[in-house]
Subunit: 94 residues, 4 copies
């Protein structure tokens, strides 16, 4: 398998802190469901976790664009990297 | 504090299974970051978790609409429940 | 064909004003494309029109929920109206 | 004012055809509102136009990334072009 260099190394700690917080929020939602908390309060938490995940995604997307995509300029990989980026953006728009 | 009856009781087990899977996926992403996996693979996982959370949200939103919102018809709570529902929909659209 | 009563009558003028503004914005974008305006400026306009359309959608969705959906409570149409509402919300989440 | 070269020139005709179709759809929605058509049918049309606009946006975003963003690599504009791209992606995620 082709080895890809990851571009988010300098943001790794920040991303890990955010993901661990998100994991805690998911556990919190599981507890709310267990306790039968009001639907609206649960839904607000779910929306907050989706927003937090989107933020993590945008941090990585930025580093990926600056690194992998820009570095592909003029190489035979350029079209592939652009395609990958656009597919990701479409997935995040869903 | 006013006690709200939650409408998703009959979907509780289904929701809990989905949330526990999501928790596992978040742990998986943390591991990918730790190992410096390729940005695009990480981003695809994040998009998948957001989609799974949206699905859980829609399950609860449906039960909430069928239960809390419909049951408020003709009561002094009707406007409040409609407002709550619309605010939630806007949050999920972000 | 079954005749449905529309629930947004009391918002009709407001919605028409918003749609005519949106139509003008679309014409403006066509002009920008014709003049080869900078991509980012065009994209900002497209995002603004999508946001304006979402707003119109939420106005109608609110009236529909208050009217058609709530009025279906306890009738044989209830499940159908809930299904319709959830399908719409999913479409707007895309 | 700084003159930006637009990157979508080779897609101009395709974009114009799409925008003119969208303009027609907006007119169609205005007519539906005038005739008091069923909310769900109107909302489905609004969702369709938003999807069509997103498609136009993604076409331009792709050309912009291939052109303006990639061409900024190694220049003093690089950071600015990355910032612009990420702001656009966030706007489209709303």
């Amino acid at each position: 398998m082709e080895h890809h260099q990851c571009s988010y190394l300098n943001k790794k700690e920040n991303i890990k802190v955010r993901l661990s917080r998100i994991e805690g929020q998911i556990k919190g939602i599981e507890k709310m469901i267990e306790e039968g908390k009001y639907c609206v309060d649960v839904l607000n938490q779910i929306a907050a976790v989706r927003a937090a995940l989107k933020k993590v995604g945008l941090i990585i997307l930025r580093e990926h664009t600056k690194g992998c995509v820009l570095n592909s300029k003029g190489t035979r990989k350029e079209e592939e990297k652009i395609n990958e980026l656009m597919e990701l953006i479409e997935k995040f728009l869903k």
